[in-house]
């Protein structure tokens, strides 16, 4: 007879693996603490829109290592390619005398840029001796970088603009360059729209406080990870950074392309505008999904269900080019005419509805290449588990592509 008590006691909670879907919800909730609109009942998979989720999981392997951690020779943001770096050097605004100091640690703002929604900040971070001790780097570890979170947003999914917080779920990115164990150049990016900027020409990004985590690697391993230890940095009043939309305006142009829409089931995707900046190409795409019900959103077996959609971008020669896309609008209009705007990725299916219409807005940020004359955005052949239907997999068949000709110097 087995000793069941001993068997049951052998478990180790540290070995528990929380699925990514659950982990994402936990971090989403923690990012939205105290926000009135954050009482979302159900986080459902995003329909049609691929969200480039950068989830910094405290104490565990992050996708940070895969996302543009810059080491000698590599671009600041890998998906934007090396042209971005060259143009950033050409167009950045160098900043003098904007330094925040807290204890022995200091953050110098070296440069900044606003470029059609994209805000870039370049910091030089020097960690003081006492703070380095707080990182508690073990003997068998090397510190290779740092990850900074601003104003309490553990994934940097909140931007503070003119002293007001805005949820910008997934629309941020960060990379670093190691100068020394205690010094790093950190590039931080926000992608903002007029939803946050309120059509203002001038605005301030406020950095009130930061948490700094070390990025370390264990000896003998191939990947960095973000360690749990953290240093708190208070910079209230020291880091209010002004921006103007006019900064690169004369080098930026927008046009409406001639482009067929992409259709799939009840969904139509339409290219609204193409914006060419010195740094990148931004394609604004609206989506409309008709005949939506709580069942079609929530159930993979429903005939109108559209699963998670991811994209690739190619140039005219079929070469893949760097791209990320962000969703900024997630609106549902019910059959009675009432509309609700939901946070990205969420539609509450706790109530029953049908004949509703969903509207989404996405921005595709695309690497700018000199020899690229057209861009094709292609939905990946996504595999979605369909547990109770006859076919376990659903593919996006006959979905069509978005083919966009790039034009020179056409103003909208």
């Amino acid at each position: 007879m087995k000793d069941i008590d001993k068997l049951l006691q052998r478990n180790n909670i540290d070995d528990v693996n929380i699925p990514n879907s659950v982990e994402n919800k936990i971090h989403y909730a923690l990012n939205r603490l105290g926000n009135k609109s954050s009482k979302i009942n159900y986080l459902k998979r995003i329909i049609t829109a691929f969200v480039s989720t950068i989830v910094a999981l405290v104490g565990s392997v992050t996708v940070y290592a895969a996302f543009g951690g810059t080491i000698e020779g590599k671009p600041i943001f890998e998906w934007l390619g090396s042209n971005f770096d060259t143009e950033y050097e050409n167009y950045k605004i160098e900043v003098q005398d904007q330094t925040a100091v807290y204890g022995e640690t200091s953050i110098d703002l070296l440069s900044k840029m606003y470029n059609d929604g994209m805000v870039i900040l370049e910091f030089d971070v020097k960690i003081g001796e006492e703070d380095m001790k707080k990182f508690d780097i073990w003997e068998n570890q090397t510190i290779n970088g740092i990850y900074m979170t601003f104003n309490g947003a553990s994934n940097n999914w909140i931007a503070t603009i003119d002293n007001k917080e805005y949820g910008i779920k997934t629309r941020s990115a960060q990379s670093y360059k190691k100068i020394a164990d205690n010094e790093y150049i950190v590039y931080h990016m926000y992608f903002l729209t007029d939803k946050e900027l309120k059509n203002k020409t001038d605005f301030n990004i406020n950095i009130l406080y930061a948490y700094i985590n070390p990025i370390v690697r264990n000896d003998g391993e191939n990947e960095d990870f973000q360690a749990v230890e953290t240093v708190y940095f208070d910079c209230r009043g020291q880091m209010d950074i002004p921006f103007s939309k006019n900064e690169l305006a004369e080098n930026t142009y927008t046009y409406v392309p001639q482009c067929e829409s992409m259709k799939y089931k009840q969904m139509t995707k339409t290219v609204e505008t193409v914006t060419i900046t010195p740094m990148q190409i931004i394609i604004k795409v609206s989506s409309k999904i008709e005949n939506v019900s709580n069942a079609s959103i929530g159930s993979t077996t429903h005939e109108d269900y559209i699963g998670l959609m991811r994209y690739d971008a190619y140039d005219q020669n079929g070469n893949k080019i760097g791209m990320k896309n962000y969703q900024t609008l997630n609106k549902i209009t019910y059959a009675n005419g009432k509309s609700e705007e939901w946070d990205i990725g969420d539609i509450g299916t706790y109530k029953s509805f049908k004949n509703a219409t969903m509207e989404l807005m996405e921005y595709f940020i695309i690497e700018k290449k000199d020899d690229c004359s057209s861009i094709k955005i292609v939905a990946q052949e996504e595999i979605i588990e369909n547990p109770t239907g006859e076919n376990w997999k659903q593919r996006f068949k006959d979905i069509g592509d978005l083919n966009i000709e790039l034009k020179a110097n056409e103003v909208e």
Binding site: K2, N11, S154, Y211
Partner: protein, 170 residues
């Protein structure tokens, strides 16, 4: 932890986040005893996070933080379960079975395998006792089940597991 709780009570979101992340695995295991579907488990934990953050100041004894939040979680799980009584067969169950079959190294996988055929209440009691390491008295406060009843249920649950293993060996 006491210091973090005090900071969290003063609206330090980061401190509250650290508290939650320190116990997230426990919350997951406990929710899993009640809900099969990871979507629902995520929803229950989300709702627990919102409610506990909102009401943290009402917690008088900081040492009871964990039991307090687990109670909230169990209530949320019950609410979701009531709303969605029927479940489609989750492909996650199949995935878990395959995963267990191929990865029977972790002690915790073995725990989940051992309790998989118990009812929800038995799973919860065993998880609180063996994973969260609560005493019978603490479990009684969380679940509002009398201590002697808990003891009896634990014994019966262990017997069920023993019988199941002996059947398997045959």
């Amino acid at each position: 932890m006491e210091e973090l709780i005090e900071k969290a009570k003063n609206n330090d979101k980061r401190a509250f986040s650290e508290l939650i992340l320190a116990i997230e695995k426990e919350l997951y295991l406990i929710a899993k005893t009640k809900l099969k579907n990871d979507d629902d488990i995520g929803d229950a934990i989300q709702e627990t996070i919102y409610k506990s953050y909102k009401n943290l100041r009402k917690l008088r004894d900081n040492s009871l933080f964990k039991t307090w939040i687990i109670k909230i979680l169990i209530n949320e799980c019950n609410n979701i379960y009531k709303k969605k009584r029927k479940y489609a067969i989750s492909y996650e169950d199949k995935e878990m079975e395959n995963y267990i079959a191929n990865n029977n190294e972790s002690g915790n996988i073995e725990f989940e395998f051992l309790i998989r055929n118990l009812n929800s209440e038995e799973k919860l009691l065993l998880t609180l006792y063996y994973c969260s390491k609560y005493t019978i008295k603490e479990i009684s406060k969380i679940t509002k089940i009398k201590e002697n009843t808990i003891k009896g249920k634990l014994v019966r649950a262990r017997n069920k597991i023993r019988n199941q293993l002996e059947e398997g060996e045959k």
